[in-house]
Amino acid sequence: MIKHIVIVGGGTAGWLTAGILAAELAGGAESSVRITLIESPDVAAIGVGEGTWPTMRTTLMKIGLSETEFIRECGTSFKQGSKFVGWKTGAENDAYYHPFTPPLGSAGVNIAAAWKKGFGELPFADAVCLQSQISELGLAPKQITAAEYAGSLNYGYHLDAGKFSGLLQRHCVSKLGVVHILEHVSQIKSTDVGDIESLLMSGGRKVAGDLFIDCTGSSCLLLGQHMGVPFVDQSAHSINDSAIAIQVPYADEDSAIASSTIATAQSAGWTWDIGLSTRRGVGYVYSSSHINHDDAEKELRQHIAKSVGVDKAEELAARRIPIKAGHRAKFWQNNCVAVGMAAGFIEPLEASALALVELSANMIRDELPVSRDALPIVEKRFNKVFSYRWERIIEFLKLHYVLSERRDTEYWRDVTSPNSVPEGLQELLDLWTYREPYYNDMLHCEEIFPAASYEYVLFGMGFKQSSERAVRKSDGIAGGIAMIENNLRSVDRYAKVLLSNRELIKRINTHGLQRI
């Protein structure tokens, strides 16, 4: 029987996994599973995963956290998608949105075809969705009268990763019955068949378990170091190997909070700009073979200076973080599964890190067998699903680069080179020259990036399709055009009732959101 799940690692990945599993399996008097989380007091969490997907709303709701509490305690603000600046040409007004709300449309309407036919001069996202314009106006995706986790538009969050794991920890321990051990793992003991039998703590105590979840970050203590599952390097498709992060304070407590992550292309990579309610998190992800660390920091400070001035930008503390793009060859072996950075890491261009933690923990929760005997089957299924997901993430991130027309630095010449494009992505691009992406292009029903995401990036980047195309009745052009017209009319209506991102958070701090 699988009765005791032991999670090693107390960062966001560990506590989020603990919460997801415990909310479903543990805590009650009748529950058959115990959950223990072991956190080393000597290892600091990386804590730069500050953007989530909309999936986090369902996750937190299931864990039983109040959205009001989460917003008040984690420096949280509302994220409505990503804005990519300077990726196509690097010219002054070069920007496009990848919002969380999918394009309009329904069965029988090819909205991209309608956009091209009637509104080609408008940005794709603006034509087929409200959210890019709402976000550009600095407005929040929901009203103060909306219930917790409900919104007028789809949304995720910007959050302070350190505060977030703290909140999850308190909730897991006090409400969900997770046992927290604050000790260092000094030794790992295996059984004859290679399962992990128990962990020896630095204090001498032994913790035995039936399933071990490795949330130890890039050190990958259990699955990598102990079990020897190799790391698969993906730097050929994702050449950025370094990051520098700087926390930028707001001018005052009324400063506007951007409601999308702003990813701006730079000379040798890109910068993120994440507006929390308490501060901004800004950072530069770059390729150290194209720019040295000092020059990268200088470029980052220049970028920050544009919003806060040179003097302020110079005095803020910077932190360097190495990036090793890639993932484990397998994510699950025997009775050990890796979640979070232990499983792998790729540059945070689409904030996939926390989403992958949620997906991994969800699958462990849903497929957890009662008996050890069934573990090999779950292991196989889990590895298949997550190998596929990593492949898709790598391809989708690469899509952001390959369509760029920038050749202004060695970096942009290298990242756009055809050799660096994964084969699967190249095939899709060839297909999409003659038609728009649609849901069947993606093979799984729970796709990490749906066809809609590809459309936002493709058309945002000005992807050129062939003028030769089949006329299909199912395109429903007239219906699509009517939908777009209606969408454009709706912007003002929404803009009138939605508060700014800042104002909504202030009101939530004062009045809270209702649960219903």
């Binding site: 009203q143 103060i144 009268t145 909306a146 009101r507 004062t510 009045h511 809270g512 959101l513 209702q514 649960r515 219903i516």
Partner: protein, 239 residues
């Protein structure tokens, strides 16, 4: 533009207020906020719902008078045809303002009046605010009572809803009314008590809810829902 002045028996010695209820004085409203102390009377006349404040998202009590903007079906040529009128409406054109006296930390509630209100009488019509000797008129005493209902109402409202929310007794619903002329009124902005959940409360909880006075209010709110039929009848009688 409201012209709000602090009330005093020098400037306002001869002031008279028109208390007649009419569209001309802005009484043609679809509904009004009410407060827990008013439920006992109001539930006999009006459907009482819960709604979220558009400013704060917090729950409020609202009594419904009509089905369209500016429709108050209780309003006739002879005034407001009901035994009780919400305090927030009766108090007009008076309001409470806050004043910090020199040397004092606490803010003091002081009576104010909107001198731009159409209820300010320019003739002999209306109720005197002050007696000839400068003392409060019975009318002003009544206004003070109404304002204390409003003033204390925000706190008691908070307590009421926090009790209801804690027990998860509140549920949204769709209010749908069809009229004889074939038209329809439909809204999903209201909430009410979930009767099944109320009935399922355990004895200890019921006891607590009873002693706090909230149980009785929950039942009165539920009873008030039948008033929507009477309200629809008034509307049907118009066409």
């Amino acid at each position: 533009m409201p012209d709000v002045k602090m009330l005093n028996n020098v400037d306002h010695q001869d002031l008279r207020i028109i208390t007649k209820k009419s569209a001309a004085y802005g009484d043609n409203v679809i509904g009004s906020l009410i407060f827990p102390a008013e439920i006992a009377q109001a539930h006999k006349e009006y459907p009482i719902y819960f709604q979220k404040s558009p400013e704060t998202g917090e729950f409020q009590l609202v009594a419904l008078f009509g089905f369209a903007d500016k429709e108050n079906l209780f309003l006739t040529d002879d005034g407001w045809q009901a035994d009780c009128i919400p305090a927030l409406i009766q108090r007009e054109p008076f309001m409470i303002g806050f004043q910090t006296e020199k040397g004092a930390d606490e803010k003091k509630a002081v009576l104010h009046i909107d001198m731009d209100s159409p209820r300010i009488s320019n003739t002999e019509e209306g109720e005197r605010v002050f007696l000839e000797n400068g003392g409060n008129s019975p009318y002003l005493d009544h206004i003070n009572k109404m304002l204390s209902v409003v003033h204390g109402g925000f706190e008691s409202c908070k307590a009421l809803f926090s009790a209801f929310l804690e027990l998860e007794l509140i549920e949204p619903f769709v209010l749908e009314v069809e009229f004889k002329d074939g038209t329809q009124f439909k809204t999903d902005q209201y909430y009410t008590i979930n009767q099944d959940k109320l009935l399922a409360l355990d004895d200890t909880t019921v006891g607590k809810l009873h002693r706090s006075g909230h149980l009785q209010l929950a039942y009165m709110v539920l009873q008030s829902l039948s008033n929507v039929k009477r309200l629809a009848k008034k509307r049907n009688a118009l066409s």
